[in-house]
Amino acid sequence: MTDSTRVRLSLAPTVIPPMSAKACCHTVADQTAGTTEPVVALVGAPNTGKSTLFNGLTGSRVTMGNWPGTTVEVSRGVWRTTLESPTCHCEDCSCADAESPLAITLLDLPGAYSLDAHSPDEQLTRGLLQDGTADERPDLCVVTVDASRLAHGLYLVSQIRELPLRVVVAVTMSDVAAQRGVSVDTVLLSQALGCPVVATDPRRRTGLAALATAVRTTLTDPAPAPRSVPASDDTLVIDDDRFTWLSAAAAQATVVPGHDRLTLSDKVDRWVTAPVAGPLIFLAVMWAVFQVTTTVAAPLQDALDRFFSGPVSHAVVSLLTLAHLNGSWVEGLLVNGLVAGVGMLLTFVPLMALMFVLLALLEDSGYLARAAVVTDRLMRTMGLPGRAFLPLVVGFGCNVPAISATRILPDARQRLLTVLLVPFTSCSARLTVFVMLGSVFFGANAGTAVFGMYVSSVALVVLVGLLLRRTLWRTMGAEPLIIDLPAYHVPTLRLTAAVVWQRLRGFLKTASGIIVITVCAVWVLQAIPTTGGEGFGHVPVENSVYGVVARSISPAFAPAGFDQWQTASALIVGFVAKEAVISSWAQTYATEQPQPGQAGLLGDHIQAAFQQSSGGHPLPAVLAFMVFLLAYTPCVATLAAQRREVGLRWTLFGVGMQLVTAWLLAVAVFQVGRLFW
């Protein structure tokens, strides 16, 4: 039998007029207890088992769930109570028969953390319990409190205890608390709160009779004197008084694992978030990630490279031959453009997949959150705004959303500074270039080379940030920031696989989208002759528009050791997107050696180019190139985002600053490096 009826209350969005709990019960529907029967309101924070308890007490079936905001309606039912042990034993007693069932109208109010009316649910609860007159209020409140999060629930209890209301506290989820080593003594808690406290488990239907007894007993007593609160206009003072009261009650009634009983998570955190050991551990972990990635993925990458430059290219040529298109510009576009350029980028799929797997495992396990603490501390040690750490961390994934994320900074100068710093964070697009150059020039130490670029990226952010703060933004103060660390988890295969696939799909989307367009544009520029006598698509690359423009720019990189038009052209194309650096290289060298299978490994060409341009110092030259790549403008999408956030003037200032920084650093790296290598 269902003894409940749902009542949907219409709420004004902002102002809740005083309402009557009793009128609500006695004017709606017909399945209420009698009009003289007591009304009990069931209140509590979301996810404390309130709705489950309501169902257990009334036998009704209402929507229940384990997610916040489930209880958006006020449910009402009849709770037929009996006493566990009658309190009255008079033989000819004329008082109410304690042993007879007593029907109570039970209201299931929406989940509310407090009576502060921060949400419509809290406005409703406040309207029913606090703003109405004594006749309009329920006769008693049962407050559900989660034993595993006692302090959270006791705030609402503290507020209700300030009202002239009878209160019974129902402690739920004691089993969850027990799993965490926490136990609640209901007797001590009752003494501390000044109201009955009953442990219940609505899911197992235990403690319900004890709750009924406590409620019926309390109903026979007058409402207790409200707890006094300090007279103050400052709500923080009043709230703090409540917290002092509830923390004392929780401390008195709760047995928790001692502070000296550290969990494994605590022990690990003491090391990984320590001021000195934390950064060292973080650096070691990231070095291992890059080293494992480059070592494991290298054979797969080589195999894919041979696959695209061999069978795939030959197959395309064969097909074009069948279509009588061999030797035409179509073959040039398909073989030397798309297959060479996009194919080279696709050889990075195993590497990116492995990298995403390792980073997803670190993130899902909770370790990267600890690394964030370390990074944040570094930022604040350097005097940079703590909150600026957030978009900068995002920037290591992609600079564009990182620039959008600067909106969380309340101060315009902080936003501007952070927008200017974000491009120095090494996004994953640059990773592909670093990995390729690392593999070509540093062999087994490729991971260390890539790792060095990430460390350089952090150093660049800090140093440029300090430089700007000491010059343009000297008066900007750092804001405090605190991080709530998630618990460590064993990574799940499903979540890790899903995240990796989603990110890998983004990489493939890039390769099939903007890179294809860029490859086509580069091919067209490489096909347009600058001198007479050469036709479209039949011009040596160095004589094409592409080659001529690149050759006019490349001398600027002579002091940095990479005065090669092929290298300079890759940097120009890299303005579009950093992945295009690789595709344009592959395209250029494939076009120079137009027969499939004769192009040779791209790495050999690049090595020869740096050897020649550096005067026999290829390692410092390639390091200088990598530093330049790290420091100059990431991509056009980043520029668009910067313009949107800080305007054209500051965007141009940023581009200029990045180019100057990149060039100066590259020159410094090469000129110093050539002394040693």
Partner: protein, 92 residues
């Protein structure tokens, strides 16, 4: 005034990096510290932002991380993540 809320606010202002560290420094239990922070967030005195180390939004077309970060939530399998808390500007 040295109630739990003031103690927690003072630690946030001082730049204490984690809630666990706040609990250690103030002598409050983890439960009370979390309850205090939740209350301060609801009251608008502290702002709370969930972080992702990848793209929090759509990202851009050239980004391998593009739109890859809302996935766990979409799967309904998202675990508690990294949350940053900072003082709201209304607090002096």
């Amino acid at each position: 005034m040295s109630g739990p809320l003031h103690l927690v606010l003072a630690e946030i202002t001082a730049g204490t990096p984690t809630l666990a560290e706040i609990a250690r420094r103030t002598g409050l239990t983890d439960d009370v510290v979390h309850a205090a922070v939740d209350h301060l967030v609801r009251a608008g005195r502290v702002t709370s932002t969930e972080l992702s180390l990848g793209c929090p939004t759509g990202g851009c077309g050239t980004c391998p991380s593009s739109d890859g970060c809302s996935l766990p939530a979409a799967l309904g399998a998202r675990r508690p993540g990294l949350v940053s808390l900072s003082l709201a500007t209304r607090v002096a």
